[in-house]
């Protein structure tokens, strides 16, 4: 700096001026508030109105929640304790907790079984949801349905073992013959599985379930949120593969397969779910003799699965249609056969596009499981509407019970949606 014209300048600062803090209105919460809440007059008014709304809602709900009663044994006692003050009667949740979760007929000493099945479910589902986990965990995922069946329904262990055996033998057969001839492998495998099941079923002695390690629980005794979870999980996991098959079938060149798929999808989509449920619970019992009906749970699972599979098929068809034709041609030009092209090129891309749609159907399906309450199955909503509100102790408690149900469903549905957003980010390849 020392230059010839040093003396021509009257004053030179020799040190840096200390940093002064930014103006109060340009920093911290004030700046944030100015930019986000009061950036213009209309926005300012909206902010004030929202604050007032939040105040109104909280000032009426918070006392109700915080003043809640948790330990009484009937609504009348709740009112006595509250003595005219505002307050929720959460005692109904504590007293009927087990009924809300497991239904009112599941044996009390067996609650650990669905609990264990739930924990194992988390383990089994992890490798499917998170691809970074070791692939060997998928073995447990494959075994899980049979383990869960045995835990929840109990009875003889032979039933799930025979079912598993049928799948294993059919799978082995498919491995051996399906490579060269898909149709032979597939249908041969199906026939072999049926043979194994019928022989195995005949071999299980009558009354084997009576002295089993885990006491048998009939489907009618399942209930509560457990039933919603079971229906939701089973139907989603069955309807995704079925939906993929239907979507591919609808695009097939073979008129018979295409026709069947189109008719199935259009028919099922054109009928309300509640109608299908009525058919499952009411009509089918006319066609079977009273002793040999198909299990009600199974009937409902089949109907809900059919319903959501039709929707998922259409979602996936959208994904398939969104793929450029070049992808199909590229697969052909590589010399891949149909199965390879679908597995390696088409479906991975199509499914990625379809994730939001599939999740949408899955969330909807999970909430639709509450419809089973109209065919007198006691899921969470059925328990609330039926036995709990009809008991002399708790008749008249609405907000607490239905709010609790809403909370449970929100937790599950929000987790599903968060997972799908994570999955979309993870699969995003930037093209």
């Amino acid at each position: 700096m020392a230059g010839p014209d040093k003396n021509s300048i009257a004053f030179v600062a020799t040190e840096v001026i200390p940093e002064s803090p930014p103006p109060a209105r340009e920093t911290g919460i004030v700046k944030w508030g100015r930019e986000n809440l009061f950036s213009s007059i209309p926005n300012g008014i909206l902010t004030l109105v929202s604050l007032w709304l939040i105040y109104v809602i909280l000032s009426s709900t918070l006392p109700w929640i915080l003043n809640g009663v948790w330990t009484t044994s009937s609504l009348a006692e709740c009112r006595e304790v509250l003595a005219g003050k505002t307050g929720a009667c959460f005692s109904v949740l504590t007293e009927r907790w087990n009924q809300l979760l497991y239904g009112f007929k599941y044996p009390t000493d067996a609650y650990w079984r669905p609990n264990l099945a739930f924990v194992l479910m988390l383990v089994a589902i992890a490798p499917v949801l998170f691809f970074d986990l070791p692939r060997k965990m998928l073995v447990f995922t494959a075994l899980y349905p049979f383990v869960a069946f045995w835990l929840i329904w109990g009875g003889t262990i032979m039933a799930p073992v025979v079912a598993l055996l049928g799948f294993v033998i059919a799978g082995a057969f498919f491995q051996k013959f399906g490579r060269s001839n898909f149709a032979l492998g597939f249908f041969g495998g199906a026939v072999i599985a049926l043979i194994v099941w019928s022989i195995g079923g005949a071999l299980i002695p009558e009354g084997a379930s009576e002295n089993a390690v885990l006491s048998a629980v009939p489907s009618r005794d399942l209930g509560g949120f457990m039933l919603n979870m079971m229906l939701g999980l089973t139907c989603v996991s069955l309807s995704i593969p079925l939906g993929i098959a239907l979507a591919l079938g609808r695009q097939s060149n073979m008129p018979l397969i295409k026709g069947i798929c189109v008719v199935f999808i259009e028919f099922v989509r054109g009928v309300p779910l509640i109608t299908l449920l009525f058919v499952a619970s009411v009509m089918l019992s006319y066609f079977f003799p009273p002793e040999s009906t198909v299990d009600l749970f199974l009937r409902v699972v089949i109907m809900i699965t059919m319903f959501s599979a039709a929707y998922i098929a259409e979602v996936i068809r959208g994904g398939l249609a969104a793929l450029p034709k070049g992808q199909y041609e590229a697969a052909d030009s590589l010399g891949l056969d149909y199965a390879q092209a679908m597995r390696l090129i088409i479906l991975p891309q199509a499914l990625k596009i379809s994730i939001p749609g599939i999740v949408n159907v899955a969330v909807g399906l999970f909430k639709d499981t509450t419809l089973v309450s109209v065919i007198s199955m006691f899921d969470l909503v059925g328990m609330i509407r039926g036995p709990i509100l009809a008991s002399t102790e708790w008749n008249g408690v609405y907000w607490e019970l239905l709010g609790f149900a809403a909370l449970l469903f929100f937790v599950v549905c929000y987790s599903i949606s968060q997972y799908s957003q994570w999955l979309e980010r993870k699969l995003h390849k930037g093209h």
């Binding site: 609504l75 009348a76 009112r79 007293e95 009927r96 009924q99 009112f104 007929k105 009618r220 009525f278 619970s281 009411v282 009509m283 019992s285 006319y286 066609f287 003799p289 009273p290 009906t293 309450s373 109209v374 065919i375 007198s376 006691f378 059925g382 509407r385 039926g386 036995p387 709990i388 509100l389 009809a390 008991s391 002399t392 008749n395 008249g396 609405y398």
Partner: protein, 338 residues
């Protein structure tokens, strides 16, 4: 298409033949359990408690039949049914009898092919109003807003009542009883109308029940009773006479408290026939001689069931009214045990 229709018809015919051939009574005995259809939950009439045990006035009838047939009031498989599934459950043989506050009507009896074996509760449509309205009769309700469940007979009864009395009303359509309670308490309607037992049960859940009154007019007949399938008269007789046994026991003063003494033999021959110490009534029904005693031990006589579940000492607080014994001016009346 033709073929499937034929197969369908064959199946139905086969089922019908099967149901007619094998008696329900034998089925129940062989099974060791009575499949009894109840509601999914109605205060006082049927609801499972915190331990999952079913309890209520209709449930009492199921237990009495189970006790009469099998000797064990616990040998009942309760099959919860909704208003929509109840008749198919009975017709398809899923349940042996239905005790689900079902109104006995012509078309249900004749067209749907059921047999109503009796009436265990005489209900009727009533009105509830807030006390501050100052109304003492339904005929003063000119211009009132009325909460009414859509698609029910109550809706039609209401229209008839107001038309025949030349007064007007404004309906507020609602879907369920729960919704009605909220609407009524929020003041969306001046009057709530449904079956009188339902009104009483609803009022019992209010914070201040005394601020609401039930008007004296009952504008419809709703005889509620258990029913069985057409075509199996033996089984119908069993259920009918079990119900009659409960009613007769109250008339004759046989209660669950004194039944031990009475069963040892009394001077009243009808009591003896009822309890099986005299005559062969049980044998005629195809049951054991002490069937009546077992049925009464299950939950007491008709009056005890009424008082214990829906009577004035319970929160529901229904007066006997029409459901008093005929000797007390009510309609409850059983043919003699002879």
């Amino acid at each position: 298409m033709k073929k499937s229709v034929i197969f369908g018809a064959l199946t139905v015919a086969g089922l019908a033949a099967g149901a007619a051939a094998a008696g329900t009574l034998d089925d129940v005995k062989a099974r060791g359990k009575l499949n009894c259809g109840v509601t999914t939950g109605l205060v006082g009439f049927a609801a499972p408690d915190a331990n999952g045990e079913w309890d209520g006035f209709d449930v009492g009838v199921c237990r009495a039949v189970a006790a009469a047939v099998l000797g064990d009031p616990k040998a009942v498989e309760f099959v919860p049914t909704t208003g929509k599934t109840r008749f198919t459950a009975l017709a398809s043989g899923e349940i042996d009898m239905l005790a689900r506050n079902t109104t006995w009507t012509f078309s249900r009896d004749v067209d749907l092919k059921f047999t109503f074996v009796g009436v265990n509760y005489y209900d009727g449509q009533g009105f509830m109003v807030p006390k501050e309205l100052g109304v003492s009769s339904a005929k003063e309700l000119d211009g009132a807003t009325v909460c009414i469940q859509t698609g029910t007979t109550t809706e039609l009864n209401l229209a008839d009542f107001f038309r025949s009395n030349n007064i007007s009303y404004e309906p507020v359509p609602i879907e369920t009883n729960a919704e009605a309670q909220q609407q009524y308490l929020a003041g969306a309607c001046d009057v709530y109308t449904t079956d009188a037992s339902g009104l009483a049960a609803t009022r019992a859940t209010f914070e201040d029940p005394s601020a609401h009154v039930l008007l004296p007019e009952i504008i419809s007949k709703e005889p509620l009773g258990p029913l069985v399938r057409h075509g199996d008269d033996n089984w119908g007789d069993v259920v009918r006479w079990t119900l009659n046994a409960l009613i007769t026991a109250e008339e004759l003063g046989v209660t669950s408290a004194n039944i031990g003494e009475m069963a040892a033999g009394t001077n009243n021959p009808e009591v003896n026939r009822l309890l099986g110490t005299e005559g062969t009534l049980g044998e005629m029904l195809g049951l054991s001689a002490d069937w009546g005693k077992n049925a009464l031990m299950a939950g007491g006589n008709y009056g005890e069931l009424f008082e214990g579940n829906i009577g004035e000492s319970t929160p529901i607080g229904l007066a006997r009214g029409l459901n008093a014994q005929w000797t007390d001016g009510g309609l409850i009346y059983s043919p003699p045990f002879r």
